[in-house]
C-alpha cells in the first residue's frame, strides 16, 4: 500500500524552476558545525539567533557573516523567539525555556524553565514545536508531537502514564504484541497531540486544541488567526494546514484521552463516524507527493518582499520548496489554496523554519533529523522590479473559482482542472480518491482576472487541482470546505 502511494504521488511530480524574481543565497557555516536548524529568531538590529539540532544557540551577524555561540546543551530545540538581544524563549523536548545572558558577556548564564508541565514518554517522536508569541496577551503557543510506534517508551517517563490500550509494563516487555493496539502514532503522556497555550506570567499550561499528529509549524495570518500544519500519516490522508480555535478537535484521535471528562475508550476503538462528527477539517490540504509531504512553519509575508504581502508562506521538508497560501473565509470557515512559491534552484530541501528580517529578507533554516531534507540556511531576497507570472489570488464562487494573475494575460493556455478527495481513516495516508477531470468555462473579467465556471457543481471536502501553464508555478490546489451561496 505504501509503495503504491509513493509511486502514484511521485508520478505526478514535475520539475519546476526557481522563481527568477527571488535571489536565494546560502549562508556559510564553520566546518564541524551541525547546521540542522530548529529555530530562527530575528533581532531588531538584523542579527539572527538560531538554535540547532545539537542543542546550541548561535548568533549570526549578516553584516560580518560571523557566528558566535550563545547557549548550548539544549535537547532538540525546535523553535526560538527573541525577547531582546540577550533573552530568548526556546522550546526544546523537555520544556519551554527562557535562555538569557544576565551579565552582558554575550553568553547565556540562565536557563529558566517557563513550563515543563507536560508528559514525556521518552519516545523519539515526541518533539515540541513553537513557541509562537500571542501578541494580544504575551502568552506563547506550543505544540506537542505524539509518539511513534517506530519505538516504544522508556522505563521512566515524565507525567501521568495512560494505560488505555496497553499497560506501561506491556509496552516495555511485549512491544511487538501490543504496538498495533497502541496505534501507529500514540499519546500515552499528557497533551501529546495538542496545541497548548503557556501563560506569560505564571507558566501555566492551558490546553488549547487537539487532534494533531506532527504539528511542526505554528503561525498567524494577517488577521491574527492561528494556523498549525500537520503531517500526512495515520488519520491524515495528506498533509494539512489547520485553522486552530480553542477547543477544536483536528482529527488524530490519539490526543482525545487528554480532554476533560474523557470516557476512557482506547482511541482506536472510537468509530470513525463519531470522530468525523467531532473534527474540524483542515483549511488546506497539501497533496502528498505533488505539493508537499511534510509542511512546516507558516509565516506572514511582509510588505517589501514582492507582490504577495499579506499572504502566508509555508516550508516543506521533503523537497526544495516553499509554498504560498491563499486563504479566505467562506461562510465563516477558513479555507483556501496552496501553490509552490520557490522551487529548487539554490534552495535546499528540508525547509523547516522561516523568518523575515527587518530588511524584508526571508531567512530559511533547513533540517532533516534523518528523514528527507537537508541542512544549513539561506537568505532569500526579492529582486526589485523583476516581474513574473503567477496566480496572485484565487477565491471560490458559487459555481467555480475566480482567479487573478499577477500580470496581464492574453491567453490562459491549456488549463487543466481535476478534483479529488482524501480518506479519513486510521491507515497511513490516502490515495487521491474520486479523482476526475473537471470541465469548465473560463470567462475573462479583466486583463488578468478570470472566472472559471465549472461544468459540475462544486463539491465540499474536495480539492480542486488547477494547472495553469502560463504561470511560473502552474499547480494551484484549492481545498473546498464551504461553498458560497449565489
Amino acid at each position: 500500500m505504501i509503495r503504491t502511494l509513493i509511486l502514484t504521488s511521485l508520478l505526478a511530480t514535475s520539475a519546476a524552476l526557481a522563481n527568477p524574481a527571488y535571489e536565494v543565497e546560502k549562508i556559510a557555516f564553520e566546518k564541524g558545525i551541525d547546521s540542522q536548524v530548529g529555530g530562527i529568531a530575528v533581532l531588531t538590529d538584523g542579527r539572527l539567533a538560531v538554535c540547532f539540532h545539537r542543542g546550541d544557540v548561535r548568533i549570526f551577524d549578516p553584516k560580518t557573516q560571523t557566528w558566535s555561540l550563545f547557549a548550548k546543551g539544549l535537547h532538540e530545540p525546535l523553535g526560538i523567539l527573541a525577547e531582546s538581544a540577550s533573552s530568548f524563549v526556546i522550546v526544546q523536548r523537555p520544556e519551554l525555556t527562557r535562555v538569557s545572558d544576565t551579565d552582558g558577556d554575550g553568553k547565556a548564564d540562565r536557563y529558566e524553565t517557563i513550563c515543563d508541565d507536560y508528559g514525556m514518554s521518552g519516545n523519539y517522536h515526541e518533539f515540541a514545536f513553537g513557541p509562537l508569541l500571542d501578541p494580544k496577551t504575551g502568552d506563547w503557543f506550543v505544540a506537542l508531537n505524539v509518539a511513534s510506534n517506530g519505538a516504544p517508551v522508556r522505563e521512566e517517563v515524565r507525567g501521568e502514564f495512560l494505560e488505555l490500550s496497553a499497560t506501561h509494563e506491556q509496552i516495555l516487555t511485549e512491544w511487538g504484541k501490543v504496538k498495533g493496539k497502541v496505534g501507529r502514532m500514540y499519546s500515552v503522556v499528557p497533551y501529546r497531540g495538542w496545541v497548548l497555550k503557556v501563560e506569560k506570567d505564571t507558566g501555566k499550561l492551558i490546553p488549547w486544541a487537539y487532534g494533531f499528529r506532527s504539528p511542526n509549524g505554528l503561525g498567524f495570518d494577517a488577521d491574527g488567526e492561528l494556523f498549525v500544519s500537520d503531517n500526512q500519516g495515520d488519520w491524515l490522508g495528506t498533509s494539512k494546514l489547520h485553522h486552530v480555535v480553542k477547543g477544536r478537535f483536528h482529527g488524530h484521535p490519539a490526543s482525545l484521552p487528554w480532554t476533560e471528562n474523557y470516557d476512557g475508550r482506547p482511541p482506536l476503538e472510537i468509530p470513525v463516524e463519531e470522530l468525523e462528527k467531532m473534527r474540524t477539517p483542515a483549511a488546506v490540504w497539501f497533496p502528498q507527493g505533488t505539493m508537499a509531504n511534510s509542511p512546516t512553519q507558516p509565516v506572514l509575508i511582509p510588505d517589501g518582499f514582492g507582490p504577495f504581502a499579506g499572504q502566508m508562506l509555508i516550508g516543506e521538508m521533503n523537497r526544495a520548496r516553499i509554498i504560498r497560501l491563499m486563504l479566505e473565509k467562506v461562510n465563516g470557515v477558513m479555507q483556501g489554496a496552496c501553490v509552490p512559491f520557490i522551487d529548487e534552484g539554490q534552495l535546499p530541501a528540508g525547509v523547516n523554519r522561516l523568518a523575515f528580517g527587518p530588511d524584508q529578507s526571508l531567512w530559511t533554516g533547513h533540517t532533516h533529523l534523518s528523514w528527507a531534507g537537508s541542512e544549513g540556511m539561506t537568505r532569500i531576497r526579492y529582486r526589485e522590479g523583476k516581474t513574473f507570472q503567477d496566480v496572485s489570488r484565487i477565491s471560490i464562487t458559487s459555481d467555480g473559482f475566480k482567479v487573478a494573475f499577477l500580470q496581464p494575460l492574453d491567453e490562459l493556455g491549456d488549463v487543466k482542472l481535476s478534483r479529488y478527495t482524501f480518506a479519513y481513516h486510521s491507515a497511513y495516508g490516502s490515495p487521491e480518491m474520486e479523482k476526475a477531470d473537471v470541465a469548465f468555462e473560463a470567462k475573462r473579467l479583466s486583463d488578468r482576472e478570470f472566472q472559471f465556471v465549472l461544468a459540475e457543481p462544486l463539491k465540499r471536502d474536495f480539492l480542486y487541482d488547477f494547472r495553469f501553464p502560463k504561470a511560473e508555478n502552474p499547480m494551484v490546489c484549492y481545498t473546498v470546505r464551504e461553498i458560497p451561496v449565489p
Binding site: 505504501i2 523537555p94 517506530g150 534523518s370
Partner: protein, 362 residues
C-alpha cells in the same frame, strides 16, 4: 562465440583441470552470505564490505529504515556512481514502473523497491574485475547520500571515517564516533535521553574527569562517573531516539528508579517538586527547583580534593532537610554539617540554608 563466452569456457576448463576439484566430496560451491540493511538516515549498513572476485554471493537486502522510506540496492560498475546518481533523479512514469532503477549499461544487478520491513535475497557472482563497485539506492532523492562500496579483491586503503568511497555523511558519522572518545572542553552540559534516568535528564562534565547525570524530571542526582564524558553521536545522527552512551566508569549510582524527589524537607510525605531551570556558575549549572514553597539550589562541582562537591542552598526550609544520598559502589558521602540516617544525609533546620556534601571514592 563472443569473447565473454570464450572466457567462461576457458574458466570452466581451468576448473575441471584443477586437481582435486572433480573428486571433491563437497559439490556445493562456497557461498558468501552478506546481509545489507538500509537503516535510518539514508544509509546502507554495512557501508562497505569486501569479496573475492567471482565469488558466489548471497546478498540479503533488508529495509530497516524506521522513517517509512522505500529503498533498493543497485550494484554498479566502478566509476559509474555520478552517472547513476544523476540518472536516479529522473522521476518519470517509466522510472517508477521500473522500481526507480535507471536504464543504464552500468548496472550489474539490482533488487526491487523494498518497503519498510521488506527484504529480498539475490544471489550473484562477484565481478571478475578487481575494483570498487558502488551499491546505490536509486529511489529518487536518495542516491546522492545513500550508497556503499563493494571491494572486489581490493584492500581497504583507509578506515571508514576517511574512505572517499563511502558517503561523506557516513564518514562524518564515523569520525564523530572517534571524536566522542576524546575529552570535551570542560565544564559542559548536555540535555539528552540518558540511560537509567527520566527523559528530562542532563549530563554534566566537570573540570578534571568527573561527570554526572542530573534528572530534571524528579529533580535529583542520579549517578556519577569518572573518565570520558558521553558519546552523543547516535542521538545526533538520528531522529533523536538513541540514548547517549556513558563513556567513563560509574563510581556512584543513587538507584531508586522512579522516586520522585532527591531531598525531603521534614517528614516523608510526598512533596510537590517543580523544576525551575539552572543558572551557570563557573560554567557549571546550578539547578533550581521548588519543593512545595521552598526554593532549592543544587550545585555539583569538583571539590579541591578532586572529588564531587554537592552544594545545597535553600530559601527558608521550615524543617530538617533530608538528602537522598545512599552510599553505593564504595563511594561515601558526608558533610561537616548533619548526620547520616540510612540512605539519607540529614541536616538540621538551623544549618540548612547552605550546606555541602562531599563524595569520597573508594
Amino acid at each position: 562465440m563472443n569473447f565473454r563466452s570464450l572466457i567462461s569456457l576457458l574458466a570452466l576448463a581451468a576448473v575441471l583441470l584443477m586437481p582435486g576439484t572433480l573428486f571433491s566430496q563437497d559439490k556445493k560451491p562456497k557461498v558468501k552470505k552478506v546481509t545489507v540493511k538500509t537503516v535510518e538516515g539514508l544509509r546502507f549498513e554495512p557501508v562497505r564490505f569486501s569479496v573475492k572476485r567471482g565469488e558466489t554471493l548471497e546478498l540479503k537486502i533488508e529495509n530497516h529504515d524506521p522513517n517509512d522510506q522505500p529503498h533498493n540496492f543497485v550494484l554498479i560498475k566502478p566509476g559509474a556512481l555520478a552517472e547513476i546518481q544523476a540518472a536516479s533523479m529522473a522521476v518519470t512514469p517509466e522510472a517508477a514502473a521500473n522500481g526507480f532503477v535507471p536504464k543504464s549499461g552500468s548496472i550489474l544487478v539490482h533488487t526491487g523497491l523494498l518497503n519498510p520491513e521488506q527484504k529480498e535475497t539475490i544471489t550473484i557472482q562477484a565481478p571478475e574485475e578487481p575494483g570498487i563497485y558502488h551499491y546505490v539506492c536509486t529511489f529518487p532523492g536518495h542516491a546522492m547520500v545513500m550508497y556503499g562500496a563493494l571491494y572486489v579483491d581490493t584492500k581497504y586503503e583507509k578506515d571508514v571515517p576517511f574512505d572517499p568511497n563511502v558517503p561523506e555523511m557516513v564518514r562524518a558519522l564515523e569520525l564523530d564516533k572517534l571524536k566522542a572518545l576524546v575529552e570535551v572542553e570542560r565544564p559542559t552540559f548536555t540535555r539528552a535521553f540518558m540511560p537509567e534516568a527520566g527523559p528530562a535528564a542532563i549530563a554534566v562534565a566537570l573540570p578534571g574527569d568527573l561527570n554526572f547525570c542530573w534528572d530534571a524530571g524528579n529533580c535529583r542526582l542520579r549517578y556519577a562517573w569518572s573518565g570520558a564524558y558521553i558519546d552523543a553521536t547516535k542521538m545526533w545522527n538520528s531522529n533523536g531516539n538513541a540514548l547517549v552512551n556513558i563513556l567513563g566508569d560509574e563510581f556512584w549510582n543513587s538507584g531508586g528508579g522512579e522516586r520522585t524527589h532527591g531531598i525531603q524537607i521534614g517528614d516523608e510525605s510526598a512533596r510537590t517538586v517543580d523544576f525551575k531551570g539552572y543558572a551557570i556558575i563557573d560554567g557549571i549549572p546550578e539547578f533550581e527547583y521548588r519543593i512545595d514553597d521552598v526554593l532549592v539550589r543544587e550545585w555539583i562541582s569538583t571539590g579541591t580534593d578532586g572529588e564531587l562537591s554537592w552544594r545545597f542552598r535553600l530559601d527558608a526550609p521550615g524543617n530538617d532537610v533530608r538528602v537522598f544520598a545512599p552510599e553505593t559502589k564504595g563511594t561515601t558521602i558526608s558533610s561537616k554539617i548533619g548526620s547520616r540516617d540510612g540512605d539519607y544525609w540529614v541536616v538540621p533546620q538551623k544549618d540548612a540554608a547552605e550546606f555541602t556534601l562531599h563524595f569520597s571514592r573508594k
